[in-house]
Symmetry: C2
Subunit: 794 residues, 2 copies
């Protein structure tokens, strides 16, 4: 099976000192002599560039030039999370000392943390909602006043300029914040949260600074009149809240509350972040069950019942707190009638007939096609941005341009489309007469002079004759284009609301068409508007079960479930025929090494020996400080196999690298930082006063190796790694297949996987990027496998 | 860490022939010399009894006598499912030959199978529903007629006897069927399905015979007037349908349709069964989303997005088909107003205030306590049954006794409780005047003279004055006791409906109390009846999120979600304080080695070397037929490590057992059966015309070793195991901890896990039972770990 090109014949060099880099590598290489494995890469390949950031991935196709915006590149800059417990002596000691009461206590603490996450997420949602509502009210009241005044004087350019200017100013502020202060706060944040839950460390994504920028950013985006919603950002906000509260410390404020030490590990943190994301969904849509399903459908890989129950508790607390706060704010304390930010209004249950199912399928297909188109345009725009609009100031200018364009679209529509409705039938907040007769108001102005969320409500609930087909068509085209342009700007805003709005509009348009064709029946426009909204959103994001539940919970009507389910499933199928969901497109563009749900098919003949990185840099169980220091400075790997020390009396086994354990860079750094080493090798660790908290204190951001102050004389000291290393890491033999690697990696959330040969010697290391490189593509019924390139440039 | 008691010093015996049992064992033992591992069991322990059925689990506490009905025993009779793919050469060949089109084809076939599962499950639900409805209508109509006649003659004992007799006859028929034809069809089937999804092969649980007995059994149980429902059995039925359709063959009818060969493996089958269970829930409750959540909350461990989507599709198809069929049957074709078997009737949204939350919590606590009590009584009854009512005829007698008791309870209540209601307010099907005045009818008779499901509806929807508090109290006590007695009888019936009924009754009683205490408010009894029903059921089964969704979908009202959620969470917490959910209790009683969600805490100091079974029985890569035959006859293990053959020129490595792969008993049997071996060892497998279908043909019931006809001369032939074995099984080192073993086992669904030493020699095997033995208990805030005993007697 293994393409046995023979071992590389490197001269054996047994050196006494290990401080010399060249000798170190040579040392490594000599062991390959024993590993007797296929080595397609010779030693000369392991230059610094190649090693940067990942376990020396072999480039089979040498890259001449990496095209920015390509979908076939993995970025080397992302680090992975590690969900595997390091079962070292310190952990065992802690277990022994604290016993079962500690387990019970941790369990209670988890519920308590979740409670806090729910409450705080809801309060943030409350503040964002109130700000947007109040500022929008003021803005549109002023604009209406100005229009009312200047329409009589025939100076409509004044309110127009006022509108454009106010949009630009507000968006400018938010965009500057996002571009210059925290770029990771741009967009909805859902792709980033998805990556985090998948096990990829997206830098700064769960910091408090990000949360503040996100919250302010989303207020400016919505008040600034952009075609964006506040729901996606709420999901991101919930995640940040969860990370912050569960860790009991904040990097932004450099403050350590000295609580919840025991939650400071990747696994616990991820669990809380997933609950936080769910709480965010729950607050955004008033959908506690939808929230749980969202975090499952988009994030988690391992289903854990206890975690799901806690998540559910968090979503219930979140929706309940928000409900309570909003009800109190709106003057109905105790009534609990405002479950979420997005409130589509009470839908009536709409009866439907068997023969209507094809109609819903048609809606699904239209939604799938339009969604795929939306994704395609957005993808092209994103590539354009990556190539030509990468400077922060350009990003700000672009955001302002879109803000101006949004106002212009709205103004032109009001001005040119003469769509008048009699007052009183369906009360709008700011009825604008414009050119309409007395007692009438401009229907387009009613749509534009409110937040997009209110517009969705209008489309859902207004009676059938409220909008002229032509107005709807123009609105759909405009808003469709505006919303694709908006998603990806340097502002914080989501795509749920704009897509619901577009979908509701074309759903209503189709309802009018159906009414026209079947004049005998009386059509319920709400039904078709809702189904259209669901289809459009489903076509873009390609969620099915969680989106169904979210829409059901948002509309408060379960009897409409079946039409929505049918529509969403068809929308997903249709959309998937053309391209992937919008979040996946953006994740691929960013080159994130996301692991899919299943290993790529037909890869049973790809072996670990081909996938792994090698040669491996190993440490001995008792290692000199100088060597450790040298190694950490030389390579940027994050995990090192610990191997048996050479037995000096057996000449032929000098370079045996029998695996004894695995130690992480972060652990080594903490050991060096705290000077946990001895001048003579006989002192054992138990004499040292160390426990797990030494490592937890620094989590998750450890100092870099260059920040450590190590004196020259210390380099001859020795570190006993045995008490700190993970003594039994998961391993696989070199003849294991890629699916086998993949399943182990995915199911257990590993970060490093040592590959061993038949006698348990380490011959390679596999990290997430090595596996994520193999990706399956499906396109219009065809499928295949592609091997991505790895680059440290994007 | 490892308690090194030193290797056992057994004399090395290198024998030429391997047919001698003693030598075989001795051979095995000699290798332990090299393994140098802690051996708390000496070789003398490995007697036949001990080896029976599992990898020689060491009994640390010698069992004097196994008490039937103990909760601390694991049964050795259960085999495990294997979700790990055997990546042997045949599979690689098949992949190479068929390529991507086959992957696409399999994917399409999966959707098609799911579609069939949904439709067939719904049709079975339809038939069961119609039968129950029609037979019940006839039965109660006759009874009513009889009462109406004999009440005037003062000969009420005649209708009473008629009632008792009809109950007994019907139940007798069903009970005989269950006891003598297919005992695994007893009860709701949910525990069995749960075990199957967890990875335990419960014998005969997904056979068509089981389905037939289950379907007939549930009709007789409900028509026979037992306190049982048809919803649990529907879930089991869905699972059987899924297993049958996906495998394209039936063991019951001994028919192979020669389709879907490629789905004949444990992994694919499990996925379909989980979808089938979901389709069953969906048909039972008209709850497509609840169905998906049920199969997740109760079954699956690994969340797979694609599987979830398919499951969702199946549940939608199922509920839709049932809806269509029932609507057509009831004369409203195309109207789709009968989504599920259980139809609680359209609930009105009930507004609730903030201050009502404590009331819901109180309901939850009551439900939790009553549920725990219910579970306790049922547990004691189950233990009693195991000890004293194990003969089939006794089980039938017991079922008939309960049938008579049910009728007696009902009759006494009608007769003694003088609860009359005016006719016409809430139409009941069979209004019985009995001793009431003209124009009135007996309220208790109205409850008893209909199916339990209709009674739930009555309690939910009847106005507040409909029942006297005393009648309700008596009814609650009677029905509570009857339903605990019924669950566990040798009949097919579930516990959802009886518990909903009891809960709705006490919810209504509490509503009357609250009304009495707060006479100013007008209380909505439906609200409290529903919350009570949810609390009682939640207290018994301890599901939260799926039960919430099921109740929401069944009542068609999402606005009641928050009260139900709060109630269910409190009910679960309260109940968990006392004991476990009823399904888990029954699973533990059956001694099923179910793996929990997480490894027991504080077990990082339990090492693989203690958990594993040893010595290990290994095979060489090329092995003689005689040896294989001998080994298969000698031990009943299901997997054997394949190790390097001894190198004859190195004396000291003669007994090296370096792991090369893993082969299953079933594979060996198929190889022997098809005589895939050669007289001389040079012929390789590629000359033989074998492919994967040879193995799939026999799946899942392979012949036993004694059924094979092997001539004496054949024993000297040799089998090359390499093309058939799994070349890279997952392994762990002997120093790996129990949590590490557990996570690997649970996440990847393994069946066998070879344990290796530092030089990759096999030193032990771990199977599911070895891990499931370590169980955590939590009781009233305390927790600890217990080690279960393993027995082949229960």
């Amino acid at each position: 099976m293994i393409n046995d090109s023979g071992p590389t014949h490197v001269e054996e060099t047994v050196s006494e000192t290990t401080s010399d880099t060249a000798q170190l590598i040579s040392n490594e290489a000599s062991s390959s002599n024993y590993a007797q494995l296929n080595r397609s890469v010779t030693l000369q390949n392991s230059d610094d560039d190649e090693l940067n950031g990942s376990h020396g991935v072999r480039r089979r196709h040498p890259v001449q030039k990496i095209e920015p915006g390509s979908m076939n590149i993995l970025s080397a800059k992302y680090e992975s999370l590690d969900y595997d417990t390091c079962e070292n002596h310190l952990l065992l000691d802690e277990e022994r000392k604290r016993g079962y009461p500690f387990i019970v206590w941790k369990d209670i603490a988890r519920w308590f943390v979740i409670l806090q996450i729910g409450v705080v997420t809801a309060l943030i949602a409350f503040i964002i909602d109130i700000c947007i509502e109040e500022f929008s009210r003021i803005k549109y009241k002023q604009l209406k006043k100005s229009v009312d005044i200047y329409v009589l004087e025939d100076k409509l350019y004044i309110p127009y300029l006022l509108w454009v200017l106010s949009n630009i100013c507000i968006v400018f502020f938010g965009s500057v914040l996002v571009s210059y202060v925290e770029p990771v706060a741009a967009g909805s944040g859902i792709p980033q949260v998805k990556c985090y839950l998948n096990g990829v460390k997206v830098p700064r994504v769960v910091r408090i600074k990000t949360l503040v920028v996100k919250a302010v950013g989303v207020i400016t985006a919505v008040v600034g009149g952009l075609a964006g919603g506040k729901e996606g950002p709420m999901i991101h906000s919930g995640s940040v809240v969860a990370a912050g509260i569960s860790q009991g410390k904040s990097t932004t404020f450099n403050k350590d509350f000295k609580i919840f030490h025991y939650f400071r590990e990747d696994h616990e943190k991820r669990d809380f972040v997933s609950a936080g994301a769910a709480a965010g969904v729950s607050a955004a849509f008033g959908a506690p069950i939808g929230g749980v399903l969202f975090s499952l459908e988009e994030g988690t890989s391992f289903w854990n019942q206890a975690l799901t129950w806690r998540t559910f508790f968090g979503t219930v607390v979140s929706t309940f707190t928000l409900n309570f706060a909003l009800s109190a704010y709106h003057g109905h304390p105790g009534e609990l009638s405002y479950p979420g930010l997005l409130n589509l209004g009470k839908m009536e249950p709409f009866p439907f007939q068997f023969y209507e199912l094809p109609v819903f399928m048609l809606f699904g297909a239209v939604g799938g096609i339009l969604g795929a188109l939306w994704n395609y345009i957005n993808y092209r725009l994103a590539v354009f941005r990556i190539r030509y609009v990468s400077a922060p100031w350009l990003r700000v200018v672009e955001a302002c341009l879109v803000a101006a364009a949004s106002a212009t679209c709205g103004f032109l529509m009001m001005f040119l489309l003469d769509d008048c409705r009699p007052l009183g039938e369906d009360p709008t907040k700011n009825p604008l007469q414009l050119f309409c007769a007395d007692g009438e108001y401009n229907a387009m102005a009613a749509i534009w002079f409110q937040t997009p969320e209110e517009s969705v409500r209008s489309f859902l609930h207004d009676p059938i004759g409220s909008y002229k087909p032509w107005s709807l068509l123009v609105f759909i085209i405009c808003y469709f284009l505006l919303s694709t342009w908006t998603f990806g700007l340097a502002v914080s805003s989501g795509l749920f609301i704009p897509n619901l709005l577009t979908g509701a509009a074309w759903g209503r348009l189709l309802a009018i068409l159906i009414q026209y064709m079947l004049p005998s029946n009386s059509i319920n426009p709400a039904k078709y508007a809702l189904v259209g909204a669901a289809a459009q959103l489903g076509g873009v994001v390609r969620m099915t079960i969680s989106l169904t539940v979210i829409i059901i919970e948002t509309t408060g009507q379960i009897s409409n479930a079946l039409p929505i389910i049918v529509t969403l499933v068809v929308a997903k199928w249709t959309g998937d025929f053309f391209n992937e969901g919008i979040y996946d497109i953006h994740i691929q563009l960013a080159g994130v090494p996301l692991l899919g749900w299943e290993p790529p098919p037909l890869t049973h003949t790809v072996y670990a020996s081909e996938v792994m990185s090698h040669p491996v840099f190993t440490l001995r169980t008792v290692e000199s400080v100088g060597h450790v220091l040298e190694l950490l400075r030389l390579v940027s790997y994050n995990g090192f196999p610990v191997v048996d020390p050479p037995l000096s009396d057996h000449a032929e086994v000098t370079t045996y690298k029998r695996l004894r354990g695995l130690i992480l860079r972060s652990q080594l750094i903490v050991l060096l930082q705290n000077k946990i080493y001895n001048e003579n090798a006989n002192t054992t660790w138990s004499n040292l006063n160390v426990d797990m908290n030494m490592f937890r204190k620094e989590y998750p951001r450890y100092p870099s190796i260059d920040e450590l102050q190590i004196e020259e004389w210390e380099k001859s000291c020795s570190i006993d790694l045995r008490p700190f290393m993970n003594p039994s890491p998961y391993t696989l033999p070199h003849r294991a297949s890629l699916p086998r690697l993949f399943k182990l990696f995915r199911a257990l959330g590993l970060r490093h996987l040592p590959i061993v040969n038949d006698v348990n010697e380490v011959v390679g290391m596999v990290t997430r990027k090595d596996i994520a490189r193999y990706r399956v593509w499906r396109h219009r019924g065809h499928m295949g496998m592609e091997e991505l390139l790895l680059s440290s440039e994007i």
